[in-house]
């Protein structure tokens, strides 16, 4: 028998007992549906996390902080402990700084393309030029080239200009600024109030300097940008830093964070070198951040996948049962096939293809239903007022052949394995005994 004949015959045999076949497929369907939908949600969420995290920066983007700071952050994130032990060597999170000496040394490390001091800027307020109302705001500067800001309008900031101050606002600001659309915001000027720390001790009522900046882009909404930190260009960062720290002696200005760009394939080398440098420094890459967020979702989805796997195990037992019944019913047919010269191997395959077909139809059925439900869920969740409506680019459920095809193949393989025992039983039958079977 040719393979095509075996497949056709197997499927025709499945149709002989429609109810039994349907119920077996239903069992496989439950498992495959759970796993496929779950995996699609996993893909959707991970894709979203990736997109979100990449707004922080590309593969080569690093944040550098003293090991003391990162250790505490990590311990808190991993264990949930709010109280951590004091480390004599590294000091506290707040006192830990990057020394100038170490900073210069870091710049020379192989693989480091660029390293800049990160300024923690505490500005007072921001308002639209000409308007009265002031709003609380946080601004921060990262090198524009390291960033992948998801813009709904305009362009990225320019770090090469010397005295043009640029800012990117996010869509949350459109309403307070009375701007109808993102496009409308482009080119508008905002005023940022920066407090001159030293001057405020002597003249508390006259220590705020105003800097004007131009809106060059509007950032699309995202989860990680929801904290509202607005991105500014290098010139504005320098200006604000200068204003805030005016009159402060240079030796009192300390560096807590640095940001930079390394060659993506040397990230791990750089990490190692930085760890041993001076009092020890930690780098955080985009992947690290994404990894931390992912772990959380992965755990949840793993639990659901376990349910899917349990369902599949039950389904596999169903397949074994169905096929044993099928072998029993068709004993005489097997005898005839053997008498007419069908080989053991072909008999084996005729049954194992039946099992594989059950797996195939069950998983295809599961795939279609999970796609149907998944896509409907995406649509419903994106509707006005639903929780995904602020994120038009985020699909909760994401299907792709790379995700679905391996699952279908895996389920077919499980079905094949489940079918081996009945198929072997059929293959081993003695033709005479089989023909005499009543």
């Amino acid at each position: 028998m040719k393979i095509s004949d075996l497949i056709l015959t197997a499927n025709r045999n499945l149709l002989r007992n429609k109810v039994r076949t349907f119920l077996t497929i239903l069992a496989i369907f439950v498992g495959s549906f759970t796993i496929i939908l779950n995996t699609a949600i996993n893909a959707g969420v991970n894709d979203f996390i990736d997109k979100q995290v990449s707004t922080i920066g590309g593969d080569g983007f690093i944040e550098v902080m003293p090991a003391a700071a990162s250790e505490q952050i990590m311990t808190m994130m991993k264990t949930g402990e709010k109280v951590t032990e004091y480390n004599e060597k590294t000091g506290s999170m707040m006192s830990a700084v990057i020394s100038d000496e170490d900073f210069e040394a870091m710049k020379k490390v192989d693989g480091v393309k660029k390293l800049e001091v990160f300024h923690v800027l505490s500005v007072e307020w921001m308002r639209l030029y000409g308007a009265e109302k002031k709003y609380n705001v946080n601004v921060e500067y990262f090198p524009a080239e390291s960033m992948n800001v998801d813009l709904s309008a305009g362009r990225m900031t320019d770090d090469t200009v010397e005295d043009e101050y640029e800012i990117i606002i996010n869509e949350d600001w459109l309403k307070p600024f009375n701007l109808g659309s993102a496009e409308e915001a482009l080119g508008k000027t905002v005023e940022i109030g920066a407090k001159q720390t030293l001057k405020c001790y002597t003249a508390p009522n006259d220590c705020i300097s105003i800097v004007e900046a131009k809106i060059v882009g509007v950032q699309a909404p995202g989860v990680l940008t929801m904290d509202g930190d607005l991105h500014i260009n290098k010139a504005l960062d320098a200006k604000l830093y200068e204003l805030i720290n005016e009159g402060v002696p240079e030796e009192q200005l300390s560096t807590i964070f640095a940001v930079g760009e390394v060659e993506p394939n040397k990230v791990e080398d750089v990490r190692k070198t930085f760890k041993e440098l001076g009092s020890g420094y930690e780098i955080i890459t985009v992947k690290d951040t994404a990894g931390m967020i992912r772990t959380f979702f992965d755990v949840i989805l793993a639990v659901f996948n376990i349910f899917g796997v349990i369902a599949l195990i039950a389904a596999a037992i169903g397949i074994i049962n169905t096929l044993f019944m099928s072998v029993q019913e068709r004993t005489r047919e097997i005898g005839l096939d053997k008498a007419l010269g069908m080989s053991r191997l072909k008999i084996f395959f005729s049954f194992s293809i039946e099992a594989i077909s059950l797996g195939f139809w069950g998983s295809i059925f599961g795939m279609f239903v999970s796609m149907l439900i998944g896509y409907s869920a995406n649509n419903i969740l994106h509707a006005e007022g639903q929780f995904l409506s602020p994120f038009p680019t985020f699909d909760l459920v994401k299907f792709s052949p790379e995700v679905v095809v391996p699952i279908v193949l895996l389920i077919m393989f499980i079905a094949f394995v489940a079918g081996t025992a009945p198929a072997l039983k059929a293959a081993k039958k003695d033709p005479i005994d089989a023909l005499r079977y009543e």
């Binding site: 028998m1 005839l336 007419l340 010269g341 005479i432 023909l435």
Partner: protein, 263 residues
Amino acid sequence: MKQSLIKPASASRSSEPVPIVEVKGLSKTYGKKSTAFKALDDINLKIFSGESVAIIGKSGSGKSTLMHLMALLDNPTSGTVKIMGVNASKLKGKKLNRLRNKYFGFVFQQFFMNPNDSVLENVLLPLKIGKVKRFSRKKLALKALDIVDLENKAKNKATNLSGGQKQRVCIARAIVNNPKVIFADEPTGNLDSGTGKKIVDLLFGLNKKRGVTLIIVTHDEDLAALCDRQVRIVDGKITSETKTRQARTLKTTAIREGRKEDR
């Protein structure tokens, strides 16, 4: 027919043609030691191409076992079966399967049809197993159905046929691969005398017109009398062998030689 399947062993030592089926010292024992039951005991038989041979015996005499052994559906406890001079015990797996598929046709008392398949599907099963192309197997199956005069029933479900029609379908299935030998196990056992006669006519027609060797297992003396030769089995042993008159003139030498061997 593929020639590579079996090369007829050379018969150069004598002018005797090579028997298409030859059994020597064949024994079959079921069970072990104390419960052992000897179904066949030292059977010697030669069947030549184009012959029709009846194996007669009561139920439990061992006649079906003998047929199964000759058709290579079972292995003997001792002794040999030769097909066209080739020792069957030397044929394994693929070759054995191909031999059964290409050289033999089977007609069973209980028909053994796949009830839910169409008549055509049932008839072309041996061709399907033998990897004949889809188009030509349909053509061959229709031709076989034409011979048994059931071409118009090709699309019917096998269950919807009468007993006689079913047996004709089985004959069509048995001849569809153009076999050298047809083994018929009580072919008229489940049929009334009228339909039984039709089946008998068909089988002997194939034997006479196409030279198909016919080996019929039966307890029916009338059916056996129609064969060239009757081999009687009692308790696993051949007790007598007779020839019908017409057969003597047809295949004198062959049978004489065969009988000498069989004692």
